[in-house]
Symmetry: C2
Subunit: 417 residues, 2 copies
């Protein structure tokens, strides 16, 4: 019997988990290590027990569900995502990838399908970083890029400490066997919603994610001279607003139009003193730049600095630019993306190669094992929003593709029953 995704079951699981931390507007508030996060872990653990799988957790409360394979000495193949959400998050970001991975285990179990090695589902701790910064703590600790102790003193906006909430979360799942951080794996696959509109608009079922963009955040402050809006003529102005808009206009009209892979976003902008009838003395804004290529990312930053310096000079202003965040780009494994492609073709699902603009746990996991991601369309590209929505067919096809790619990745043994 060939393992098949049970779409109805997957949708029911998505609904059941969406009840945990459900918000009035139809989203979820299930932030990392909160009571809602613990309730979601509890529900998963109960499902695991019912199916006879084994459950493990590590020192940062990454949760693992293991279905044994033929050879227990071989490293497990890992699939999954995360169960925590933004404070006004959607029902699919993270949950879809975790529950589709669990559906893979259930489908294999339903079909009595034996795999060469164990397959494990992971729910990474604190992907979002909204309650305890930074995000992707679980995968960072898993690959050794950080240690849980590094985060113990982090305090949330509601005054709770990461260390205490971590201990409480671990204690709430006594049936999960503790295991060391970074238990070896053979490969990692993560299914996730796109969080952008391209798959939906292009009518595709899936994105084969080949890389994750690098991200750099800049804080830019132009300084000039405050002055009366009415009495200060052009010759006497040192207006940082004029310098900033001229620099931004040049950058916006060149960087993205000249390079399809580049992203340039100005999300915050403020003026000081912020009076209608006063030329500001300072203007401050943020720049979020992304690129899949590290050299290009550095070149964009250099260009931003040069254009800002030039614009400041032209308005007799000064400019200061600092880098507040710098995450280098990462490439996924060609072996793994090939397996996803093979699976997509076999299922006749239309797909394209794409680059992830958002971070994911997979970016860290790719440091220790062959890794790739599958994206499915989400409505209007909206995520981190209570209105986030995934068509049932897209969710189910995503799980089917994950199952097929997982089977491509573990040496499978079809057992005739």
């Amino acid at each position: 019997m060939r393992p098949e995704v049970n779409g109805e079951r997957l949708l029911r699981r998505l609904s059941d988990f969406a009840e945990i931390g459900k918000t009035k507007a139809g989203g979820v508030n299930r932030q990392a290590l909160s009571s809602e996060d613990r309730a979601a872990r509890r529900l998963l653990a109960d499902l695991v027990t019912a199916r006879g799988f084994n459950v493990f957790q590590d020192a940062i409360a990454n949760l693992f569900v293991r279905r044994e394979g033929r050879d227990a000495t071989r490293p497990a193949m890992l699939i999954g995502s995360h169960l925590d959400s933004q404070p006004t998050g959607g029902r699919f970001d993270g949950a879809l990838g975790t529950l589709a991975a669990f559906e893979v285990l259930e489908a294999l179990e339903d079909a009595d399908h034996e795999t060469a090695s164990a397959i494990e589902v992971v729910a990474w701790t604190n992907e979002e970083g909204s309650r305890f910064a930074p995000g992707v703590m679980g995968s960072m600790a898993f690959v050794g890029a950080a240690h849980p102790d590094d985060f113990r003193s982090v305090v949330s906006g509601d005054g709770e400490s990461f260390g205490q909430e971590l201990a409480a979360t671990l204690a709430a799942l006594p049936e999960a066997t503790m295991r060391p951080l970074g238990t070896p794996i053979s490969a990692y696959l993560e299914l996730h919603i796109e969080q952008g509109p391209s798959l939906e608009r292009e009518g595709l079922a899936a994105g084969v994610v080949t890389a994750v963009q690098g991200t750099r955040w800049l804080a830019v402050t132009f300084s000039g001279s405050a002055g009366h809006a009415g009495t200060t003529s052009l010759a006497y102005r040192r207006d940082p607003m004029v310098a900033a808009t001229s620099a931004l206009n040049r950058l916006q009209m060149s960087i993205m139009p000249q390079d399809d892979d580049a992203r340039l976003t100005v999300g915050r902008f403020s003026t000081h003193p912020g009076s209608i009838n006063a030329i500001p003395d300072h203007v401050t804004f943020t720049v979020d730049i992304r690129h899949p290529d590290a050299l290009s990312l550095a070149a964009i930053e250099a260009r931003i600095r040069a254009v800002c310096e030039e614009a400041a000079l032209s308005q007799r202003c000064s400019v200061e630019i600092s880098t507040s965040f710098d995450m280098p780009p990462g490439s996924f494994s060609k072996v793994m993306t090939d397996r996803i492609e093979t699976a997509a073709r076999a299922l006749a699902l239309p797909y394209k190669h794409m680059i992830s603009g958002a971070f994911h746990d997979a970016l860290f996991v790719s440091r220790v094992a062959p890794t790739a991601m599958i994206f499915v369309p989400c409505r209007d590209g909206v995520s981190h929003n209570e209105t986030e929505y995934v068509e049932p067919a897209h969710a189910i096809n995503g799980a089917r593709l994950l199952l097929a790619a997982t089977l491509e990745s573990v040496c499978s043994l079809l057992v005739i029953v």
Copy 2:
């Protein structure tokens, strides 16, 4: 004996008044109808009594100091400014014009100089508008553009009502005879600091102010579509930030460079939701436009609207523009500016014609009598600031020019004593 300004006395008066509401940083906080404002009125009234002048006030607490002339039936010539300040205001804005006008009366008295008509010094109520909005209430009520009752219900940020504070201020000066609002005057002259840098930089002693610019405030909101900074490619962006900076850059590179009389200032700018890694859904900013010509002001607004519409369209965004304030320009009397010029030439003070970019009480007074203003340089053009500073020589020359222009304006009779 020829009347002469006593420079030492003027500087002493400026120092004495700067003690009232003095701030740590060397400025003053003497907001309209506050106890500090009342203390300043008290000091002026005491000086008046000591010199044997008469003091009057009207229903909005405009304060008048009268030195009689030969013919009491002729309307008085009015000179003066205001005594109230911004919360972190300077020592000269308003006070210089009021105290220089009082010095004119003292100089005439010292010289036993009889004038054809009475000369009165005025201290207008609430020029600044910082405690009770709007500003220039006193001159508005004087010319009949508003009635004190219109403002009674205005409440300050500290919860005081304008009506109560007005009554308390009037009651605090029982020796001032009440007179009707709008008692006729023959002309009005106001000395004021420039509040801009041009006189200082051009090495001039005075500005002969021929007009006050019109002012219009616009609130502009570009709306697009929020999106993930990393996952949304250019083709899918509807970024209101890009639309706003492109519109502003076009406007900033054309309106002021093409027209020396135009002013364009963007003092406030904000984004929503204001997240570093999100394309904003809304971007809002203010535009302060000024021009001495009403048609040009309207043309600038029309151009701003057209450029914003075009920029919005190019980014698949929308834009809404509302006018939040509209003060038409006003011209001063050629007769009065000629008199100031004649006086400046006689005193060999270098001057230029100029247009005021700020409002002043004189703008309203010009509706009922021939009016003009004299500007003197202030350091670095700074005002509405505790560091506001006027060189003693500039203050004294301003008073000398005011005295001479006042004498040009009233038919003077030199009395040999």
